[in-house]
């Protein structure tokens, strides 16, 4: 086997995060509620 000396280009054109990551973020956003009482803020995450 010939040795490959070249390195892969770091930035290919169409880099995207995993679908699971995006879907997690959207679910997280739906579940998260931030309630502010006086100077405190409370994060509530619905199941």
């Amino acid at each position: 086997m010939a040795k490959i000396y070249s390195k892969k280009a770091l930035a290919s054109k169409d880099l995207k995060p995993k679908k699971e990551v995006v879907s997690f973020l959207l679910s997280y956003s739906q579940a998260l509620k931030v309630v502010k009482i006086d100077n405190n803020s409370f994060e509530i995450i619905a199941n």
Binding site: L25, L26, Q30
Partner: protein
């Protein structure tokens, strides 16, 4: 496709007002740029995904708690958050560098076991026995101070009180004890090493 014409500022406003789809549009619009930016620095897909996720968790929390000011633009703000997380990541990895075992590199080349080997322990025991024998050769007053200081861990003040001499005398006796030990070692060419 209609979403593409809605400016970021309006999408952010809609999201803050409760429209969850606005976030999906914002992520879809900018995911490539943000993820590409992170990946260009990190060069690891999994870590980049983690940082991308953490970035948007911060974005979501900030927007939901109404702490976001539409002073600048949305994308530069998100990029700044991801940049800070990248810096944090490098700080962490610098403190706790991760090493992988490869053909050219073995973890044992940078890690060492400083505890003594069996041979080392035997030599150390022998050195200690030899040293005790040498101390027995010292004059009584010097031996007394040296033993109290080195083996009983007493201070020179305590030694002076116990032996009834001044601190300076005790210090002097210690100094002579060490000089005499060195002389004996040199004279008999004794090697005390470990």
């Amino acid at each position: 496709m209609a979403d593409l014409h809605i400016p970021d500022a309006l999408l952010v406003k809609n999201y803050v007002e409760g429209n969850e789809n606005a976030l999906a549009t914002l992520i879809k619009r900018h995911e490539s740029k943000i993820y590409g930016f992170i990946y260009s620095k990190i060069a690891d897909r999994d870590v980049s995904n983690d940082i991308f996720q953490d970035t948007f968790i911060k974005v979501i929390k900030t927007l939901k708690s109404n702490c976001y000011n539409e002073e600048g633009k949305f994308l530069p703000w998100v990029m700044r958050i991801s940049h800070n997380l990248i810096v944090d990541h490098f700080r962490k990895t610098k403190k706790m560098p991760m090493y992988r075992e490869t053909e050219e590199f073995s973890i044992f080349s940078i890690m060492s076991d400083d505890s003594l080997t069996i041979e080392g322990k035997m030599i150390l025991d022998q050195v200690e026995v030899d040293l005790k024998k040498l101390i027995q050769e010292l004059p009584e007053d010097q031996k007394e101070v040296l033993v109290m200081r080195m083996y009983q861990d007493m201070s020179f003040k305590e030694i002076s009180e116990l032996t009834g001499v001044s601190i300076n005398t005790a210090l002097g006796r210690m100094r002579y004890a060490l000089m005499n030990l060195r002389k004996i070692i040199d004279k008999h060419q004794i090697i005390l090493t470990n």
